[in-house]
């Protein structure tokens, strides 16, 4: 991974023992659009704002929530181009696992491999850390799972989490609203309400994206029509 001219790392320790490039990467994440995830009793929901730079942008050409395998989905806050790189690498790793073991990759394994890639970019020569935090949602033999991966490569499992611009309000809201026995439908409503908390302007099916996975182990992104239905229920 070291580039020819740069056999030294660009991410180095400061005198106080901090890796400042990682801190700056987290700042980049913190100025990205809000996204969140909630683990319910029978599934996981992830959601994000989809604010486009102009009404001239064709919103059907943009999909922020991506699937990595049929039963694992991911959303991000931060730099879109960096996200695409991670999605591509993760999909390949999931496929390589499947080719070797003839089994779909467990969620924890995939998260560990993504995190390892992100850590590499904080230590290798001539590269900068990724400017994204990821929320990985999946359903495998261990049930519903939600993981957050940071630019440093550290990851944790969460019952509910948020990232991006509105992270502190969103997390406070989620802490109040979360219950362990939530059903997936309730979780989707809670997700929408959390996004609504810090939303600038009118929330609609055109400026948010929602992805769900439940016991059917099929990750899918909701259509604008389905989002409209949930929005109507929330009103």
């Amino acid at each position: 991974m070291g580039d020819s001219q740069y056999s030294f790392s660009l991410t180095t320790f400061s005198p106080s023992g901090k890796l400042v490039q990682i801190e700056h990467a987290l700042t980049a994440v913190g100025s990205g659009q809000t996204s969140l995830g909630i683990k319910a009793a029978n599934g996981v929901v992830i959601a994000t704002e989809k604010k486009l730079p102009s009404i001239l942008v064709d919103e059907s050409s943009v999909q922020k929530i991506q699937s990595l395998t049929p039963n694992i989905g991911v959303v991000y806050s931060g730099m879109g181009p960096d996200f695409r790189v991670l999605v591509r690498k993760s999909r390949k790793q999931a496929e390589q696992y499947h080719r070797l073991y003839k089994e779909p990759i467990p969620v924890t394994q995939l998260v560990r491999e993504i995190a390892a890639v992100m850590q590499e970019f904080t230590q290798s020569g001539g590269v900068r850390p990724f400017g994204v935090s990821l929320l990985v949602a999946g359903f495998d033999d261990n049930g519903a799972q939600l993981y957050q991966v940071d630019p440093s490569g550290s990851y944790f499992s969460w019952k509910a989490s948020a990232m991006g611009k509105n992270v502190s309000n969103a997390k406070t809201f989620l802490e109040k609203r979360y219950t362990d026995d939530m059903e997936l439908d309730d979780a989707v409503h809670t997700a929408i309400l959390t996004l609504k908390e810090g939303f600038e302007g009118q929330i609609s099916s055109k400026n948010i994206e929602i992805g769900i996975i439940s016991t059917d182990k099929q990750f899918r992104v909701l259509t604008p029509a389905e989002i409209d239905d949930y929005l109507a229920e929330v009103e």
């Binding site: 901090k18 400042v20 801190e23 700056h24 980049a28 102009s54 009404i55 001239l56 064709d58």
Partner: protein, 246 residues
Amino acid sequence: MSRGSGGGYDRHITIFSPEGRLFQVEYAFKAVKAAGITSIGVRGKDSVCVVTQKKVPDKLLDQTSVSHLFPITKYLGLLATGMTADARTLVQQARNEAAEFRFRYGYEMPVDVLAKWIADKSQVYTQHAYMRPLGVVAMVLGIDDEFGPRLYKCDPAGHFFGHKATSAGLKEQEAINFLEKKMKNDPAFTYEETVQTAISALQSVLQEDFKANEIEVGVVRQENPVFRVLSMEEIDEHLTAISERD
């Protein structure tokens, strides 16, 4: 201790600044504007049109060699706004990639796949210190088998979006404001309307009326999905139609 700024190198290579920004990428955007050209792209119901200024700085220059419109394949066009040299290497690599795609998979590279490839390449330059980002904004156009006419814009940061209409270059923001008003109610432009909207947007934003040899126009149409650069006569026809309309 303010070692937190990355040793002052955050302005020279693509590492993060304390505010989480990439200065080199932001400077690349400025380089696009510094070329002094504005380009416009408009997508209609069954066609896409891109227009750019053709500034020939020296009378001794061969005008036909000055162009920012590049066919990537017979069916895909690319309009490059910004640094010409960077544009040429991008076009060269894109042509290679599109040809390999056709060879490997047996069908023509779709517009969005090309746009994504360009954007992913640009992202690599924003993350690896050994290469600077390219000072080019690329507008890719073509007719997609499934989705019809498509217009994509790729920038030095590695972003790419599909657009109903867009602009790049010096007067980018003014042009986008103009186009937002025109496209507000999702109009379905015919081929003539598409071309004339693009040209009149450029004229309005730069506040000058063009002669046919001062602009370049490229189109793709559903009825003939080949990427074509319009001839002087065709451009003249459209210019006349615009001035008669007003």
